[in-house]
């Protein structure tokens, strides 16, 4: 929440109201239109009311000047969701041909305070489309994510930046970046989603033309991560995603999945099997996501009864909150056998 001053009389207020400033005396402030008795009246702090009265005043005259930049900044700091102020500010920047690097620096500061406000990111997008200098943004976004690692707007903005400029240099560090995010928090669904976007949904870049190698790399990566944190829906979704998008059979990873369906974590470890890293010591087994996966493998291979056995165990024991869903799977499975 931005800082608010509670009253215009407070002696520690730094700036006088716009109504008290002689350099603004040529502007006619326009009060908020409140004809009827509104059921939800607003209580404004005097500062916000003053600033928005003057904003309405300059919008009416169409003024686009340096002092308008100051005024819109005041409003934005008090209410970052005031999208009219953002819009008018952008138009003023264009009209003045104001220095964009200065504006970006201000945005750097505001983004930290107003992470969850869409307008901050949209304004940034508009500025980047003018500056056409995306490289420093990657670092900024990474810093921003530190405060809120799953911020939907921030990840969306990063995706937009990469896709819009589509520059090899921008992409080159991306795999490392998303890997670092996953290392930081293996359960960050936004990071896994972003990885899928980078690897499989943003075209094929120079060193990635050997798709078979890429697939092997990704399978190894996700299996290692499942090995270290088995009960992680993001990783299991990612595994399915790799196979689905490359039209590979789920049975390809059957040996791996089976390691997570047993109850003991005493997997035979004398032989290091890179293809099938076992659950880490102390993992909670069996892993429901693995049971679900194995059941899907059985189903796809036509082994319906084995699938229904596993679904039964989910309904009765391992995922009882979704009992009705698992019973649905059993019914559908049995139906397909009868055909």
């Amino acid at each position: 929440m931005p800082a608010l001053s509670s009253s215009s009389k407070s002696s520690d207020k730094e700036l006088p109201l716009y109504s008290e400033r002689p350099e603004w005396s040529d502007v006619t402030p326009l009060a908020q239109y409140e004809d009827a008795n509104p059921i939800a009246p607003i209580f404004y702090s005097a500062e916000y009311k003053d600033a928005t009265d003057y904003f309405r005043g300059i919008v009416k005259t169409g003024e686009k000047s340096q002092r308008v930049l100051e005024l819109t900044e005041t409003i934005i700091r008090l209410n970052p969701a005031h999208y009219s102020a953002w819009q008018y500010r952008y138009e003023t920047i264009l009209a003045l041909n104001a220095p964009l690097d200065v504006e970006l620096k201000l945005m750097d500061e505001l983004a930290v305070a107003f992470l969850k406000t869409y307008q901050v990111w949209h304004h940034r997008r508009l500025l980047l489309m003018l500056t056409r200098n995306p490289a420093p943004e990657l670092k900024f976004i990474a810093e921003s994510l530190k405060a809120d690692v799953k911020n939907y707007h921030t990840w969306s903005y990063r995706q937009w930046l990469l896709a819009y400029f589509n520059d090899e240099d921008l992409w080159s560090g991306e795999l490392d970046f998303v890997e670092a995010m996953i290392v930081h928090d293996v359960r960050n669904n936004s990071a896994w989603h972003h990885r899928f976007f980078v690897v499989f949904q943003s075209g094929i870049r120079e060193e990635e033309t050997d798709r078979a190698r890429i697939i092997r790399r990704e399978l190894t990566f996700v299996k290692e991560n499942i090995s270290s944190a088995a009960n992680n829906p993001s990783a299991w979704n990612y595994l399915r995603g790799i196979l689905d998008i490359n039209s590979l059979p789920y049975s390809r990873v059957e040996d791996f999945v089976r390691l997570y369906v047993g109850t003991s974590d005493d997997a035979v470890r004398d032989v290091v099997d890179l293809e099938n890293p076992p659950p880490a010591k102390g993992a909670e087994l069996p892993c429901p996501a693995a049971i679900e996966f194995l059941a899907d493998i059985h189903e796809k291979e036509g082994r319906i009864f084995q699938a229904t056995e596993l679904w039964r165990s989910m309904a009765d024991e391992h995922d009882t909150i979704r009992k009705k869903y698992w019973e649905f799977r059993i019914r559908e499975g049995l139906k397909s056998v009868k055909k």
């Binding site: 929440m1 608010l4 509670s6 908020q32 239109y33 409140e34 004809d35 009827a36 008795n37 509104p38 059921i39 939800a40 009246p41 607003i42 209580f43 404004y44 702090s45 916000y48 309405r56 008090l78 209410n79 969701a81 005031h82 999208y83 009219s84 953002w86 819009q87 869409y118 307008q119 949209h122 799953k150 939907y152 990840w155 969306s156 995706q159 896709a163 359960r187 960050n188 669904n189 936004s190 989603h193 972003h194 899928f196 976007f197 499989f200 992680n232 829906p233 993001s234 979704n237 990612y238 399915r240 995603g241 689905d244 998008i245 909150i321 979704r322 009992k323 009705k324 869903y325 649905f328």
Partner: protein
């Protein structure tokens, strides 16, 4: 502070909503001016579901809605003098419909505004600032439908819109709010278009029922916290897909009830947090879909009273749990 219960404290929540307009001392109040129209829609709908529509005065409400008319744009802003926005325009239409006052709206102008926000890609922007999001797509489609003007989005325009949604589908079966974005709960426009054929209902139903956490609450994406509002966002989608039975209804009901503030009224995002009108509506809406006794039926496609939608001839296929008797 929320203190939970095993019952929905209807009279308390009714007076909570009534008192929202009295909050003149709340400094943070002015910061939510951009939500004012939506807040009234949330409050009024919650009251309708709790069978206490009369708690907010009809004439005052209508006058406030009309005071938000942005005559330049031909639509509604969130508050007097705020620029028109698709979301507030939808809320205005919904409020006026619930008060049987749609005749106050200049429908052709509003339709023009909505259609002007349609992008070549098929999605809708929320306002002239340009934010795009499938949630705005929903607002546009819902608004046009409620105004009886959905036929204006036909042929190529309709296909383009449906197609945008399809392109938002992700590898995990869920849908993001723009193409490429992470799957997030909250998508219902396809039902209004009668185009559920484009989705894999079972996979989507699975992704949605996976939102239920051991404590009974629902989250919006994997590994995030439960939140009462998802009791509506997820549940409404499941009602449309006729898959509410895949959720443990008793646990979800208990979760919603535990997030009530039994002193000041209202419902919070989760037990222990502060109540607000947004979560109050979506908690009550979720309970209605779960068949909680004593509530009115809610249409999950439009998030409005079901009997009103039915009367307007707009009901689409959906299934909520049967209403329990007290």
């Amino acid at each position: 502070m929320t203190t939970g219960s095993s019952q929905l404290a209807i009279p308390l929540h009714v007076s909570y909503i009534k008192s929202l307009g009295d909050n003149k001392d709340d400094l943070a109040y002015h910061l939510t001016a951009h939500l004012r129209m939506n807040a009234i829609y949330w409050g009024l709908t919650a009251l309708c579901i709790m069978r206490h529509k009369e708690a907010l005065p009809r004439d005052e409400t209508i006058e406030f809605v009309m005071s938000c008319w942005d005559d330049e744009a031909g639509a509604f802003g969130a508050h007097p003098d705020h620029d028109a926005h698709l979301h507030s325009t939808l809320s205005a239409i919904q409020i006026l419909l619930m008060h049987d006052a749609l005749d106050r709206i200049d429908i052709p102008r509003v339709v023009k505004f909505i259609l002007s926000l349609h992008q070549p890609s098929g999605v809708f922007a929320g306002d002239s600032f340009g934010e795009i999001d499938t949630r705005f797509l929903y607002c546009a489609v819902s608004a046009l439908s409620l105004l009886g003007q959905l036929h204006l989005l036909d042929g190529e325009a309709k296909d383009r819109t449906v197609n945008y949604i399809v392109r938002c589908r992700n590898f995990d079966g869920g849908f993001g709010n723009v193409i490429g974005a992470e799957s997030h709960a909250a998508q219902a426009a396809l039902a209004i278009f009668d185009r559920l054929d484009v989705i894999d209902e079972e996979t989507l139903g699975w992704w949605l029922c996976e939102r239920q956490l051991p404590n009974g609450g629902l989250n919006g994406r994997p590994e995030k916290l439960e939140d009462v509002c998802y009791s509506f966002w997820v549940l409404s989608a499941m009602a449309i897909l006729d898959k509410i039975p895949w959720i443990d209804a008793d646990k979800l009901t208990a979760f919603i009830l535990s997030a009530q503030d039994l002193e000041a009224g209202g419902i919070a995002d989760r037990p222990g947090d502060m109540a607000d009108v947004f979560h109050t509506l979506f908690g009550v809406a979720g309970l209605s879909l779960l068949g909680y006794p004593g509530l009115q039926d809610l249409d999950p496609v439009y998030c409005m009273p079901a009997d009103l939608i039915e009367k307007m001839g707009l009901r689409k296929p959906w299934n909520a749990l049967k209403r329990k008797t007290a």
